[in-house]
């Protein structure tokens, strides 16, 4: 094996897209400014030049049409990657996702496939206030028929996106705007990251921290701080919220007997509650204390830099919560 390179999350996404478009000409990218601009963060820079307008389609600012077009073309055998520039804009496209993309396979009694990959990005980090900074992943976990992936590293972003494009089900891959310029090791060789397989990002023995997306980085920073105080934290990234790799979570908590779940999305009615329920259902007798959730505040995200940071968890919140469950 040639040694892995260190590349950005943004470039990992671009590589995955390029490789899959080269591999299969039915794969195409559609979205606002995916062509001329090459995406807000440069995640598709150069793809228009390589593949042309047939495979790289700048869409008008019409999320309903863009998604409807993608779904209709997928039913006819194409493999669209639809980019929704901000997850906040997905509200306009929800009908096509929830009522069409995820329903057609079952409605046709298995005769129709809808291989749509939806790429979008959420979360804080660009001082965009509450209509451009939300964490809306929980909505999709609530709908049967769609895979929900949230990569936290360049390696996972590339592998999950490639899996998504090849999968015959609708997949939503939710990126994070604060992750695009983070770096990580990515092999030269082709690889895929399977759905429903969590990754232990750091091994530990005293407490299990389950975190998603950008919160994985915060959890790792917290684990670092905790280590200085001789507390050994295990950090687990489920990578896909659905399907959920319950086994890896449960195995970890059986070992550590303490658990904290961290999400940027608010706790109420969300996936953090699902993860917590899974742990309580399977590890009730192992737990020394109930699972604690560390989640974004139940608020719109305010605009000023320090205030947007203040309403979502950071390493210090996580450290405090870990100490709470260990106390």
């Amino acid at each position: 094996m040639t040694p892995a390179r260190t590349i950005t999350y943004r470039n990992a996404i671009r590589e995955a897209t390029r490789e899959e478009m080269r591999r299969d000409s039915s794969v195409y990218l559609i979205g606002e400014d995916v062509g001329r601009w090459g995406n807000l963060f440069g995640a598709s820079t150069g793809l228009l030049e390589e593949f042309g307008w047939e495979q790289v389609k700048d869409s008008p600012i019409s999320e309903a049409a863009m998604m409807g077009c993608a779904v209709g073309s997928a039913v006819m055998g194409m493999r669209p990657i639809v980019e929704v520039m901000y997850i906040d804009f997905i509200t306009i496209a929800m009908d096509q996702i929830v009522n069409h993309a995820v329903k057609y396979h079952q409605l046709s009694n298995g005769q129709v496939k809808v291989p749509v990959t939806i790429r979008t990005q959420g979360g804080i980090g660009m001082r965009n206030s509450s209509q451009h900074s939300q964490s809306l992943e929980n909505w999709f976990v609530n709908v049967p028929g769609i895979i929900v992936a949230m990569p936290s590293t360049p390696y996972d972003a590339k592998g999950l996106l490639k899996s998504a494009i090849r999968n015959d089900n609708p997949v939503i891959l939710i990126e994070h705007k604060s992750l695009y310029f983070t770096r990580g090791e990515v092999p030269q060789e082709e690889y895929l990251v399977p759905f429903g397989v969590a990754d232990v990002k750091r091994e530990g023995k005293d407490v299990t921290i389950i975190a998603t997306s950008y919160m994985v980085l915060q959890a790792l920073a917290a684990a670092q701080k905790l280590a200085a105080e001789s507390i050994s934290a295990e950090v687990i990234d489920p990578r896909t919220l659905w399907p959920l790799d319950s086994q890896t979570l449960v195995d970890s908590v059986r070992k550590t007997r303490h658990c904290v779940v961290v999400t940027e999305a608010p706790a109420e009615g969300g996936w953090s509650g699902e993860a917590s329920a899974v742990i309580h259902e399977h590890c009730f007798g192992d737990l020394v204390k109930p699972v604690k959730r560390v989640c974004g505040m139940r608020t719109g995200v305010p605009y000023p830099t320090h205030l947007e940071k203040a309403v979502v968890p950071d390493a210090d919140w996580i450290v405090a919560s870990v100490k709470d469950v260990l106390a």
């Binding site: 409807g68 077009c69 779904v71 006819m76 096509q96 069409h100 046709s108 999968n167 759905f195």
Partner: protein
């Protein structure tokens, strides 16, 4: 169209009318469980369009799909079985009367008003790329012309010059909301101008008029001239759904006036004028009706899917795209 073609068309019209009446009865008996929207009165639209499209074209329909599907080639027997929620329907009864998908007949459908319009643009894009001069045809109503999907979809179809024919069935009401109060422009086909595509309005109660307009429209779309909006002005004789409170939004007199334009007697009179024997037509009508009775008896004997079968296709098994040895 010559007399033989018109006779075929008339036979289809009779079958579709009888089928719809039977479906409505089945709904009233509770055998069709719900979600049934009668098509009676609008037959000239679907059957007129049907004369111009090919089996390999793709149709995208709405919550009132039976006429569209029948016109495309789905059989009455299949329609009955699906509407009854049973095996033997194209989707084995999972979709029912509002989400009527017949894959073998290139027929898709959804019950969210307006959504088929954007979906059709994607179908058309795929067909255009395949380059085999197939077209997408989507039916929707006056109500759908007020949705964002209509405006987003027509714009997209226009800028990308997609091979899609938009059929606007203006049946005068979006549920109980009269078109004259709820649509800002008349005729609605004027909206096509905003999207730089041809838009025409025709008498949707006359099958020959619809068929001629459809030939023109389909010809342009198939030749790659881009999308086309065809508005057919029509009327549904029955409620939005079987048994809706019609008195809240229209009068008996109004319904009676529109019944004077019923497309069936109109075509029948034409055929009789052209020399077809009345007796022969009555015999044909009986034949159609008897065949439908047999279809109904058959459909009512079909079993339902089990819970396991009905929920077996929520998703395609995961990670099936990853070679087994590489799944961790």
């Amino acid at each position: 169209m010559n007399q033989d073609q018109l006779l075929v068309l008339y036979r289809k019209m009779v079958e579709l009318r009888c089928l719809d009446e039977m479906l409505l009865e089945l709904k009233m008996k509770g055998l069709i469980m719900d979600g049934f929207h009668p098509y009676q009165g609008q037959e000239a639209v679907a059957l007129g369009i049907g004369t111009a499209i090919r089996p390999e074209d793709v149709v995208i329909s709405n919550h009132r799909p039976q006429g569209h599907a029948f016109s495309k080639g789905t059989t009455s027997r299949q329609i009955m079985a699906e509407f009854l929620g049973r095996r033997g329907g194209p989707s084995q009864g999972i979709g029912g009367p509002m989400q009527f998908i017949d894959v073998d007949n290139s027929f898709f459908c959804g019950s969210i008003v307006g959504s088929g319009i954007t979906f059709a643009t994607g179908v058309a894009m795929a067909l255009k790329r395949a380059g085999k001069d197939r077209i997408a045809v989507t039916y929707f109503g006056d109500g759908a012309s007020n949705t964002g999907s209509f405006h987003e979809g027509l714009n997209l179809a226009s800028i990308w010059k997609l091979p899609v024919l938009f059929i606007l069935e203006n049946n005068q009401y979006g549920e109980a909301m009269p078109v004259r109060e709820f649509v800002s422009v008349y005729p609605i086909s004027k909206r096509a101008e905003s999207y730089s595509m041809p838009g025409i309005t025709v008498d949707g109660m006359d099958v020959i008029t619809v068929a001629e307009a459809a030939q023109t429209a389909v010809g342009k779309v198939r030749r790659g001239e881009g999308p086309y909006l065809l508005e057919a002005v029509t009327y549904r004789f029955k409620g939005h759904y079987g048994g809706d409170p019609e008195h809240t939004y229209r009068t008996r007199e109004e319904v009676e006036q529109w019944r004077q334009k019923d497309p069936l007697p109109r075509l029948k009179a034409l055929l009789i004028d052209s020399g077809v024997e009345v007796g022969a037509m009555a015999a044909m009508e009986n034949e159609v009706s008897e065949a439908l009775q047999n279809d109904q008896a058959w459909a009512l004997e079909q079993p339902f899917l089990t819970v396991e079968e009905a929920t077996d296709h929520v998703m395609i098994p995961l990670n099936s795209h990853i070679p087994k040895e590489r799944r961790s």
